[in-house]
């Protein structure tokens, strides 16, 4: 599985047509405080998919994203992001992967402009290209009014927008979002999270599935450390179930009762 998708494919527009697995993990296991919170998770997310990931217990979804982002080491299992296996070194994921967690991780004394400039330098974007991308990010994420104000003064909403803007500066193939933009007005949040890019894959962990309507097109449920459901959002509509934790769990029960295994998208 390692390196099964050639680099050239990810550099071409064919990704949008062929839709290879942008994120693939097999046999993912992780033990926390003596118990297996992930116990053999198998998940494949095709390029271009916008996946809502929820879990029971809830914090498992965050943990899974941090493992996929290379921040937490799994006890076992393989992970492949945009054709590059974790075993090849997570530094190789580089510009193909971005992760934004509930803590922005940006120093509060930084201004949005400084944070964007730093992200550009760390990504080796080059002066001209970096400046152009930063300018686009400022416009897209509405950062102009607070551009030179320290984040601690500008507030959590600006800090979260800045975190998103720095994450997208490198135009990543895979975007991992853990409860993003919670300090932003719900309507504005929904607009901002409809991130353009047909080939971009989004995995969004959320405790409030209903708030992700219109942003995601697939849903996955982790239950008791395993993948209990992975289905298109239309499967919920087809059974008249709401986009909520209860609705998704009910769909997982129905699908498992019918097939005896995990539903696949």
């Amino acid at each position: 599985m390692a390196g099964s998708t050639p680099d050239a494919l990810w550099s071409s527009s064919a990704v949008g047509i062929l839709q290879p697995a942008a994120v693939a993990c097999r046999g993912l296991r992780k033990r926390v405080r003596g118990s297996w919170v992930l116990d053999g998770v198998e998940l494949a997310v095709r390029a271009g998919v916008r996946l809502l990931l929820i879990a029971s217990p809830e914090e498992t979804a965050s943990l899974t994203l941090r493992i996929l982002g290379g921040l937490v080491r799994p006890a076992a299992g393989t992970i492949e992001i945009a054709g590059i296996a974790r075993s090849e070194g997570i530094a190789r994921w580089g510009r193909r992967l971005a992760y934004v967690g509930p803590r922005t991780g940006i120093y509060p004394w930084m201004t949005p402009h400084e944070a964007l400039d730093l992200a550009g330098r760390l990504a080796d974007l080059g002066r001209a290209e970096g400046a152009a991308r930063i300018q686009r990010a400022i416009v897209s994420w509405g950062l102009a009014p607070s551009l030179d104000r320290p984040l601690r003064v500008a507030g959590p909403g600006v800090a979260e927008r800045t975190a998103m803007a720095t994450a997208l500066l490198t135009d990543p193939e895979v975007l991992l979002l853990d409860e993003p933009l919670r300090a932003v007005e719900p309507e504005e949040r929904g607009r901002l999270l409809r991130i353009p890019g047909r080939r971009r894959t989004l995995i969004l962990a959320s405790r409030y599935p209903a708030s992700e309507a219109g942003i995601v097109n697939e849903v996955a449920l982790l239950r008791d450390g395993r993948l209990a459901l992975h289905a298109p959002l239309t499967a919920l509509d087809a059974r008249g179930l709401p986009l909520s934790q209860r609705g998704i769990e009910a769909l997982a029960d129905v699908v498992q009762a019918h097939s005896g295994r995990v539903a696949s998208a």
Binding site: L71, A91, W93, A167
Partner: protein
């Protein structure tokens, strides 16, 4: 390039949080005290004691700093941008070592001006520089120990254990009066007993070598711990 960027970031964080001033003041305190009240000593002992006390404080500060960087997500922010974790450790070591070196040089100069010239058996400047450099390197050893603890422990326990171990290491270095230095913090003891040394240059260089090796080992250890840590 990335190392320089992250080091600059760490220095700015130290500056904005006033820790850089505390760090410089702690290092310079012994030298300034010796310069202001030269009758307190006929030896640079006061400078050595000041450096040892600074080392204890800075061990706690370095441990807490790295642990906080992990817990508040700034290390994760760098890691997801492809910055290797060892670069984070190296950058923070450099961010502490640069002001320690600058402050240490200032303190050593003050120590020389205030006391070394009055020693019963005069010490040549090169030997004094070697011993003073080894003492400052001893401080960096204790700071590196703090980073090692900060890479695996939470901020408060990391800070407390680093202060405790830093006090033991600094105290042992200060009190060790062997013929030849065997501790990485022995430079502090050499500086405290400068006038009694038979071969200050050789002892200073040897102590500096020991300190450098200890710093290397501790930083490799810290990098290994941070590599396996969950961010």
């Amino acid at each position: 390039m990335r190392t320089a960027t992250v080091t600059w970031l760490a220095l700015r964080e130290l500056w904005i949080s006033f820790r850089l001033i505390i760090l410089l003041a702690a290092i310079l305190a012994g030298g300034i005290a010796g310069a202001l009240v030269p009758e307190l000593t006929l030896d640079p002992a006061l400078l050595a004691i000041g450096l040892a006390a600074a080392a204890v404080l800075l061990a706690g500060m370095s441990a807490r700093t790295l642990s906080r960087e992990r817990s508040r997500g700034t290390t994760a922010w760098l890691a997801v941008r492809g910055v290797p974790r060892w670069v984070v450790i190296w950058a923070w070591l450099a961010a502490f070592a640069i002001p320690i070196a600058v402050g240490g040089a200032g303190a050593a100069l003050l120590g020389w001006l205030s006391s070394a010239v009055d020693l019963p058996s005069p010490v040549d400047p090169v030997s004094y520089a070697a011993v003073a450099t080894s003492a400052v390197a001893g401080v960096v050893v204790v700071v590196a120990l703090g980073f090692t603890l900060g890479a695996i422990l939470r901020p408060l326990p990391a800070m407390l254990i680093a202060i405790l171990l830093g006090a033991v290491m600094s105290g042992a270095g200060l009190l060790a009066t062997n013929d030849a230095p065997i501790l990485p913090t022995a430079g502090l003891g050499l500086l405290a007993t400068l006038s009694t040394l038979d071969r200050p240059l050789a002892d200073g260089v040897r102590s500096l070598g020991l300190a450098s090796a200890a710093i290397a080992v501790l930083i490799v250890l810290a990098a290994a711990f941070l590599e396996s840590a969950d961010l």
